[in-house]
C-alpha cells in the first residue's frame, strides 16, 4: 500500500537537522580549482612520501597491476603469492588515500612453493567469485608463483566454466623493471622532441605493471564490436594517480567533444568491465601515457589512437589537439567551428586577466623536467605574462639519476626554444640565493613551485605558488587555463607576510632535496642508486 512515510537515509539526515537548503549560491567553491585543491590536499598529502621512497627504491610490477585493476569498476585483483604481497600492496602508492580493502590472495606457503600453488589458485578463484561476485577477476602472479612455475593460464582455463565472471591473467611477476638510466634516456629523447614533435619517444616504463594490465585487457577482454551507429566515439585513457581535478576535466571534455559531435565511449580504466569489452566500438583512443596498449588495439581492432603530448598544451595546443581528433573522425567542418567558438570564448575571457598581468613584471622559478619549455611558452604567449627571467633548478634531475650531459642538453634545448619563440626572457640556471634575491628585486612577482617556495620564503623571497598550474595546463580543454589565470590574479593581490615555514627550518641535502642532510638517509639513497645501477639493462 502506498504511503508517503519516507524511510531512507535522507530522512535520517533531515531528522538530524541538516541544513535546509542546498546552497544555490555556492559558486567558485564548486569549480575546477576547488576540485583540484581538494584532491591535492586529501589525496596528494601522500604524494611526497611516495616520491621520497623512489629515492630509495621502486615498487614492483605487482603494484602497478594492482592499482590498474582496482580502477576498474567491478573488478577484483587476486594476488597469487604469499600473504605479504597482498598485505603491502593494499597500500598501493598510487592510491594511498584509499587502501584496497578487497584483495584476495592465495597465501602461498612453504608447501605450495614445493608442490606448486595451482590448487590454491583454483580454489581461490571460485572463492573470490562467491565472496565478491565481481564481473572480473584479475589474477596477478607474484615473484614466488613466477618462480615456482605455476601454470596460471592453465588453471584459469580450467576454472572459467565454473565462475560466471571473466578472468584475466596479467603477467605481474615483480622481478623485471626499468633500469636506473631509463629516465635519463627518456629525457634525452624528450628534449629532442621539444624541437621536433615528430620525434616523440614511444616510452614505456618497464616493470611498471599498469601497462601489463592494459595489454591483457586488450588481448583477453575486449570484444570486437563495431557499432555502425556510433562511429564518432572515442576512448579516453585515464590515470588516477595524482590526476587532481579529473572529474571537472572529464565534464569539460565531454561537453567540448559533445559539441563537436564526438561521444566518449569510455574512460579506460576508470570504467566498468562491460565498458572495457566495448572499448573497440570507439574509432579513436586518446592516449595519455604509454602507447603499447593503443598499438595493440589498433592491431586487433583497427582502433586508431592519438597520444596527447606536451605540445598539445596551451590555447593553440588545445585547439590543435581537438582539431586533430575531429580530423581523425572526419568531422572537420562542424567541429572546427565549435573549436573556433570555444577558443574565441576562452581568449576573450583570458584577455581580462592578461590586462592585469601586462602591468607587472614576472620571474618564473621552475625545476627542469618534461614539459618546461612549453609551460614557459604558456605563461608568455597564452597568459601574455611579461616574463623577464626563467630560473631553472636542475638539482632535482640529478637526484633522479639524470646525467649532467642530458641536463645540459635539456637546458640548451630550452634556451633555443625560448629564442625561437622570441620570448625575450633570460634563462638562469641554478641561481644561488643571492642571485635569486637580486632577480626578485627586479620583478614584481616571482612565480614558483611548491617544492622550493617554502625554502626561499624563509630567506625573504616571496613567491606565488603556481604549482597548481601543473594540473591545469595539461587538461584537455580551455577552462583549466582560465581557472589558472583567475587564481593567479587573486594571488597577485594578496599581501604576503614574511613566512618562516617549519619545513624550511630543516637541513636538506643540496643535491637530493628534499632528502634531509642525514647521513643514514643519504647512505640508504646511495645504496639504492648503486644496487640499481648494477641491475641495469
Amino acid at each position: 500500500m502506498e504511503t508517503d512515510v519516507k524511510l531512507d537515509i535522507d530522512v535520517k539526515a533531515e531528522r538530524y537537522g541538516k541544513a535546509l537548503e542546498t546552497p544555490e549560491i555556492a559558486g567558485r567553491g564548486k569549480g575546477v580549482l576547488h576540485d583540484i585543491f581538494r584532491d591535492r590536499a586529501f589525496h596528494g598529502v601522500h604524494q611526497g612520501t611516495t616520491w621520497q621512497l623512489h629515492r630509495y627504491g621502486i615498487n614492483c610490477k605487482l603494484s602497478g597491476s594492482v592499482y590498474a585493476v582496482t580502477e576498474i569498476l567491478g573488478a577484483i585483483p587476486l594476488v597469487h603469492g604469499p600473504i605479504g604481497c597482498s598485505f603491502h600492496q593494499r597500500l598501493t602508492p598510487r592510491r594511498i588515500y584509499t587502501p584496497i580493502q578487497d584483495m584476495p590472495c592465495t597465501g602461498l606457503d612453504e608447501n605450495a612453493v614445493i608442490y606448486g600453488g595451482e590448487d590454491e589458485l583454483r580454489k581461490k578463484i571460485v572463492d573470490s567469485y562467491s565472496r565478491y561476485k565481481p564481473e572480473l577477476i584479475a589474477v596477478l602472479p607474484t615473484c614466488v608463483s613466477g618462480l615456482t612455475g605455476d601454470d596460471i593460464q592453465g588453471v584459469i582455463h580450467e576454472v572459467e566454466a565454473k565462475v560466471p565472471c571473466d578472468i584475466l591473467y596479467v603477467p605481474s611477476e615483480g622481478f623485471a623493471h626499468r633500469d636506473r638510466r631509463a629516465l635519463d634516456v627518456f629525457l634525452k629523447d624528450f628534449t629532442k622532441a621539444w624541437k621536433d614533435p615528430a620525434k616523440v619517444p614511444a616510452y614505456e616504463i618497464r616493470g611498471y605493471g599498469h601497462e601489463e594490465v592494459m595489454l591483457a585487457l586488450v588481448d583477453q577482454i575486449m570484444d570486437d564490436q563495431y557499432d555502425e551507429n556510433a562511429d564518432n566515439l572515442v576512448n579516453i585513457e585515464t590515470f588516477g594517480r595524482f590526476s587532481y581535478g579529473f572529474e571537472s576535466e572529464l565534464k569539460e571534455m565531454a561537453s567540448l567533444l559533445g559539441k563537436m559531435g564526438v561521444g566518449i565511449n569510455t574512460t579506460l580504466l576508470s570504467c566498468t568491465v562491460d565498458a572495457i569489452k566495448k572499448a573497440p566500438a570507439a574509432r579513436l583512443n586518446i592516449v595519455r601515457r604509454g602507447i603499447r596498449w593503443a598499438e595493440q588495439m589498433k592491431k586487433e581492432f583497427d582502433t586508431d589512437y592519438l597520444r596527447r603530448w606536451f605540445f598539445y598544451t596551451g590555447i593553440d595546443g588545445t585547439e590543435k589537439f581537438l582539431l586533430y581528433v575531429a580530423s581523425t573522425l572526419d568531422l572537420d567542418g562542424e567541429a572546427e567551428e565549435v573549436v573556433r567558438i570555444e577558443k574565441k570564448r576562452a581568449l576573450q575571457e583570458l584577455d581580462k586577466y592578461c590586462k592585469t598581468f601586462k602591468n607587472h613584471v614576472f620571474a618564473l622559478f621552475t625545476i627542469g623536467f618534461f614539459f618546461t619549455p612549453y609551460s614557459v611558452k604558456t605563461y608568455a604567449l597564452d597568459f601574455k605574462i611579461p616574463l623577464k627571467y626563467v630560473c631553472v633548478d636542475t638539482r632535482w634531475m640529478r637526484a633522479q639519476n639524470v646525467s649532467d650531459e642530458t641536463t645540459e642538453s635539456m637546458i640548451r634545448g630550452m634556451g633555443e626554444l625560448i629564442d625561437d619563440w622570441d620570448l625575450g626572457v633570460e634563462l638562469v640556471v641554478n641561481p644561488n640565493l643571492h642571485e635569486l634575491k637580486e632577480i626578485a628585486k627586479k620583478v614584481d612577482h616571482v612565480l614558483g613551485e611548491r617544492s622550493a617556495t617554502p625554502i626561499y620564503e624563509k630567506e625573504g623571497i616571496s613567491m606565488i605558488d603556481t604549482s597548481i598550474g601543473a594540473y591545469l595546463f595539461n587538461r584537455i580543454g580551455f577552462n583549466g587555463m582560465l581557472e589558472f589565470a583567475s587564481y593567479l590574479t587573486q594571488e597577485m593581490k594578496k599581501q604576503r607576510n614574511h613566512r618562516e615555514p617549519i619545513i624550511s627550518k630543516f637541513d636538506y641535502d643540496e643535491t637530493y632535496y628534499p632528502i634531509l642532510a642525514d647521513p643514514m638517509c643519504l647512505a640508504s639513497r646511495e645504496m639504492w642508486s648503486t644496487m640499481w645501477r648494477l641491475r641495469s639493462g
Binding site: 541538516k18 549560491i25 598529502v45 613566512r499 615555514p501 617549519i502 628534499p514
Partner: protein
C-alpha cells in the same frame, strides 16, 4: 546579522565559573542556567558549581528578589566555598530586581559579588571583561613577587585550556618566570592574591581588568597574542622576558624540530592549502601559525562577532579545504565536505582531557600539526 556569540550572560558566567572554588548563582529562569551549564561541562562533567534561583511565573509577575534571597541563604549553608558569584540575567534586568539590596539584606558567611549580565546588553566578551572587573574588588594589595606574572584571558571551558596552561607555565618556568594566577581559571585565593604579580599578561581579553589593576595596584600589563606555533610561542616568551627584564635562555627556548621531521613530507604536500578560520581572539594567532609556519593560505579569517551568514558565504565561495573553528562550524564543514579542526569555544562534540596535548606553545605546535595531518589523511576516503 547572525552571530555565534553567547551574549553577555555567557561571558559573565564563564568568567565567574573560572574561579574554581566559587559557586555561581544564576538569577534567571531555568533555561539560561541550563545553557550555561551545558556548554561548560563537555569536558568537565564532574565540576558542577552552579545553582539557579529558578525564576518562575510568580517571580516574573511579582519580582524575583525573594527567590534570590532564599537562594542566597541556602547556598550559603549548602556550599563550602569562599565566594558566591551572583549572575543576574535578562529577566531580572527587565523586571528590575534590586540585586544589591537583596544581597545587603542577608548575612552570609561567604564573599558575594554580583553582576548585571543581561544577555541583551552586550557580547560574550563584554560580559567577560565586566565580570572580571567586578570580581577584582576581591583582590587585595600584596607585596610584589619578582619575576611573576598573571595570565589573563582564559575561561575554564576553552578548548584545551588545561593543557595549554600547563604548557605555557612550563615554558615560562623554564625562563625563570612564575605564574602567579591564571584568570579566569584559578582558585579564589589565587585570584585574591593576583596583585602580587609583577606583570599582567593579557592574552586576547581581560584588558579592562588589567587597566583596573594598574590603577588600583600599580601592576603594569602587556597585551600579547595567544602563543600558537613555534614562532608565536617564541615571540610570546621573548616579549614577556623583555618586559620583566629577564634574560632569555636561548637554549632552553629552543624548540625541537624532530617531531616535524618525522612527517615533513606531508607538510610539504600541504603547503599552500587554502584554509579558513573563525573564532574569538584565538583566531588571529592561529591563522598566523597556519599561514607563516605551515604555509597554508588563509582564505577567510573571521571573528565570532562577525555576521555568520557572511562568513559562511565567504567560505563557500572560496577554495577552503580545511576549516578551523568551533563545533558550530561542523555544519558548513559537512556541507562542503571538508575537515573541521576544532580549536575554539564552544566545543561540545570533542573532549579534551589529556593535559599533555596542548595546542599552545612548542608542544602545542606539534600536537596541532598532528591533529591537522590526521584530519586530512583520514578524510581522504570521505571525498569518495
Amino acid at each position: 546579522m547572525a552571530k555565534m556569540d553567547g551574549g553577555k550572560f555567557f561571558g559573565t558566567f564563564r568568567a565567574c565559573s573560572g574561579i574554581k572554588d566559587a559557586v555561581v548563582l544564576t538569577h534567571v529562569p531555568v533555561g539560561c542556567n541550563w545553557g550555561a551549564a551545558m556548554f561548560k561541562t563537555t569536558s568537565n562533567q564532574s565540576d558542577i558549581r552552579q545553582a539557579c534561583t529558578v525564576m518562575h511565573e510568580r517571580e516574573i509577575v511579582f519580582g524575583g528578589e525573594e527567590a534570590l534571597r532564599e537562594a542566597l541563604v541556602r547556598a550559603d549553608k549548602l556550599y563550602n566555598t569562599p565566594l558566591l558569584a551572583v549572575v543576574a540575567g535578562d529577566a531580572p534586568a527587565i523586571i528590575g530586581d534590586d540585586i544589591e539590596a537583596v544581597i545587603d539584606s542577608v548575612v552570609l558567611n561567604k564573599e558575594v559579588v554580583w553582576m548585571d549580565a543581561a544577555g541583551f546588553k552586550g557580547t560574550m566578551r563584554e560580559g567577560y571583561e565586566e565580570a572580571l572587573v567586578h570580581l577584582a574588588r576581591l583582590m587585595e594589595e600584596r607585596n610584589v613577587i619578582k619575576n611573576s606574572l598573571n595570565l589573563i584571558g582564559f575561561c575554564p571551558d576553552d578548548f584545551k585550556v588545561d593543557a595549554d596552561i600547563k604548557e605555557i607555565k612550563r615554558l615560562l618556568n623554564s625562563a625563570g618566570i612564575q605564574v602567579n594566577c591564571v584568570i579566569s581559571n584559578c582558585s579564589f585565593d589565587e585570584f585574591v592574591n593576583a596583585p602580587a604579580a609583577e606583570l599582567n599578561v593579557v592574552m586576547g581579553q581581560g584588558t579592562e581588568l588589567a587597566e583596573h589593576m594598574k590603577k588600583a595596584f600599580g601592576v603594569p600589563y602587556l597585551e600579547v597574542g595567544y602563543p600558537y606555533g613555534l614562532e608565536g610561542t617564541k615571540e610570546f616568551i621573548n616579549t614577556i622576558c623583555e618586559h620583566l627584564h629577564v634574560g632569555v635562555n636561548e637554549k632552553k627556548l629552543d624548540f625541537d624540530l624532530e617531531p616535524f621531521k618525522r612527517i615533513y613530507l606531508y607538510l610539504h604536500e600541504l603547503y599552500g592549502t587554502p584554509v579558513s578560520v573563525i573564532g574569538d581572539f584565538h583566531a588571529e594567532p592561529i591563522a598566523h601559525f597556519l599561514d607563516c609556519e605551515l604555509g597554508f593560505d588563509i582564505e577567510v579569517l573571521a571573528s565570532n562577532e562577525d555576521d555568520y551568514f557572511t562568513f559562511e558565504q565567504n567560505v563557500r565561495n572560496s577554495n577552503t579545504t580545511i576549516l578551523f573553528g568551533s563545533s558550530f562550524e561542523r555544519n558548513i564543514a559537512d556541507e562542503l565536505r571538508i575537515p573541521l579542526i576544532r580549536f575554539v569555544y564552544p566545543v561540545f562534540d570533542h573532549v579534551c582531557v589529556y593535559e599533555d596535548a596542548p595546542y599552545a606553545g612548542f608542544r602545542g605546535a606539534v600536537c596541532l600539526t598532528e591533529t591537522i595531518l590526521n584530519a586530512v589523511m583520514s578524510f581522504g576516503k570521505e571525498t569518495g
